[in-house]
């Protein structure tokens, strides 16, 4: 099956949210280009995720691979997809740009020798091949990229598109691969839930983030309360994470997550470039900072000059009064 393949990612037994977004973009691309778009899900129990992916795509292959049970999945998934891609000859493989997608894309690229265009914020079609929009140099530049040859792998950023199911659901085929995967296995000995780690900040509509100005672990309570009042999640800068005030899962910026929420509310954040690269594409940016000359004042839409410990609770109270 030539054309475009979407690699569906399994999360909690079902389909990862990122895969619904990738599938929506891929379907649009297929319509523009006149190419077939198929989904592929590899896992010990791939059926549920494959069914969900078929809400977005006309054809999905569910590949049963028992080896992902109890082992790290990405390498095994990549090996199976590489084998299928060699046989069936898709031209483009699309994945999410999260940890699983990146691991899978890296192994696929090495095994197939196909190039990677990473962190797409949008996709297009031109001159018989896909074009990939990217935001580079910390958002200073938007680029349009293409492959030089006929084939390639694309990873897509979260929130690059709003997931939209197809008019009618597609069909799911089941497949079983031959033989054992060859690359070395990595055993999953344990899975541990950690308080504060479940922070889907890349998917949130509203992010309220705290920086050095928050001053400590206790200070993040003020951030948390405002986030709750706005129906959002808590983000943080590298300084706040390195100081141990909050879990790394909340970190936004160069060595953390890249977010693009409707509202980014920054409390006590100066807006250094390493943080800016993670949030500057937010639709609306509001900052509360004591220093009117902080870098964040240059790119925020609204800046409140003042003490965050006075202003943030006042905003929380005003929001509660409004909804109350």
């Amino acid at each position: 099956m030539p054309g475009i393949w979407v690699v569906g990612e399994i999360a909690d037994g079902g389909l990862a949210r990122i895969s619904t977004e990738v599938a929506t973009l891929a379907r649009g691309l297929g319509e523009t280009a006149g190419h077939d778009v198929s989904g592929i899900v590899v896992g010990a129990q791939p059926k549920k995720a494959a069914d969900e992916l078929a809400r977005f795509l006309p054809r999905v292959v569910a590949v049963s691979e028992p080896a992902t049970d109890g082992n790290a999945a990405a390498t095994i998934v990549a090996e199976r997809i590489a084998a299928l891609a060699r046989n069936s000859g898709p031209d483009y493989l699309l994945l999410g740009a999260g940890p699983e997608g990146r691991d899978t894309a890296g192994v696929l690229s090495a095994m197939l020798g196909w190039p990677v265009l990473a962190n797409a914020t949008g996709l297009g079609w031109r001159d018989d091949g896909p074009t990939v929009e990217m935001s580079v140099f910390g958002g200073k530049l938007n680029t349009t990229n293409a492959f030089t040859g006929g084939r390639g792998i694309i990873t897509v950023r979260p929130n690059a598109a709003a997931a939209e199911p197809a008019a009618s659901p597609g069909k799911v085929e089941e497949a079983s691969p031959n033989g054992e995967p060859q690359l070395p296995r990595v055993t999953v000995v344990d899975s541990v839930a950690e308080p504060g780690a479940a922070a889907p900040i890349e998917e949130a509509r509203v992010v309220v983030a705290g920086g050095r100005g928050v001053g400590g672990e206790d200070g993040f309570k003020v951030v948390q309360e405002l986030a709750e009042a706005l129906g959002g999640v808590v983000g943080a800068t590298r300084a706040a994470v390195d100081a141990g005030w909050i879990n790394y899962a909340h970190q936004i910026g160069q060595t953390g997550k890249i977010v693009k929420p409707q509202l980014y509310l920054a409390l006590g954040i100066s807006g250094a470039i390493q943080h800016k690269v993670g949030m500057q594409t937010a639709e609306t940016i509001v900052a509360v900072n004591r220093d009117p000359d902080a870098p964040i004042a240059e790119f925020a839409d609204l800046v409140v000059v003042g003490d965050l410990f006075e202003v943030a609770p006042a905003i929380t109270a005003a929001l509660r009064a409004r909804s109350g």
């Binding site: 890296g106 680029t143 000059v305």
Partner: protein, 262 residues
């Protein structure tokens, strides 16, 4: 414990001024280079492990000939050796070429663990580490928040960050670990470290030294290209509020309501 840290010199984002050259590739001469931030976390983790268990840390880079200046900073943090693969042919390499060259170079070294940063601040694809593991048949333990090698058993355990906490992964060594900031803050080089770094050896290797032919790598065979580059639209002017907290709060709420965010 012998650890190789894959390290990339990247443009210093704090200095600003990154730009594309006339060939639509990153103009590496335009901005001073620094050690990629995620690689610093990998190096810090490697240094802590070798301090506790004994052993040595080797830096491995594929980079322009000017890279030793950046490597010295990582040597000043405490790395013992540097290996630089540099060759004019490599200019303009894509991630496929980079993965091939680093894998070929790593193959010539002796190690128990190879570390790579989760991604780089310039390319940001996060695919080279996993690719190197695949080419060399190494177990891939990624998004590490903690790394615990057991030398006697010849195995390594890694806490891999998950959407709800972490998974504990285990694999035999040698293995490749993709490192994150959750491993802990990198140290600043001490004066002693800076002095010591001056006399540490950086071995330079060419493509042929690592057994890669020039036809299979570099800009001439790059699989991706930049078609266009534009500056993002400028944001609207900033509205500044300097009123007491309760008044300011009402202004913020009105602003959010006007934008239909609340």
């Amino acid at each position: 414990m012998r650890i190789v840290v894959l390290m990339k010199p990247v443009p210093d984002t704090a200095a600003g001024g990154e730009r594309l050259g006339p060939d639509m590739r990153l103009d590496r001469a335009a901005v001073p280079a620094v050690v990629n931030a995620n690689d610093e976390y990998a190096l810090e983790a490697a240094l802590k492990l070798t301090e506790a268990l004994g052993g040595e840390v080797t830096l491995l880079s594929m980079a322009p000939a000017s890279a030793p200046d950046t490597m010295r900073k990582a040597l000043a943090m405490g790395a013992h050796h540097g290996v630089l693969v540099t060759d004019p042919v490599l200019e303009g390499s894509d991630t496929v070429s980079t993965t091939r060259v680093l894998a070929a170079a790593l193959k010539t070294l002796e190690y128990d663990l190879a570390f790579a940063g989760a991604d780089t601040s310039d390319g940001g694809a996060g695919v080279v580490g996993p690719g190197v593991a695949a080419l060399l048949g190494l177990p891939l333990l990624s998004y590490a928040a903690k790394i615990e090698p057991d030398e006697a058993a010849g195995r390594v355990r890694v806490r891999r960050l998950s959407p709800t906490g972490y998974d504990v992964l285990e694999a035999p060594m040698p293995a490749l670990v993709v490192c994150t900031q959750a491993l802990g803050e990198p140290r600043y080089p001490s004066l002693k470290g800076i002095m010591a770094a001056r006399s540490k050896e950086i071995v330079t290797r060419s493509l042929s030294d690592v057994g890669v032919t020039p036809e299979e790598v570099g800009g001439a065979v790059a699989g991706t290209k930049v078609l266009e580059a534009t500056s993002p639209p400028a944001r609207a002017a900033t509205e500044v509020v300097r009123e007491p907290a309760d008044v300011a709060a009402e202004r913020v709420v009105a602003f959010l309501a006007a934008r239909r965010i609340i």
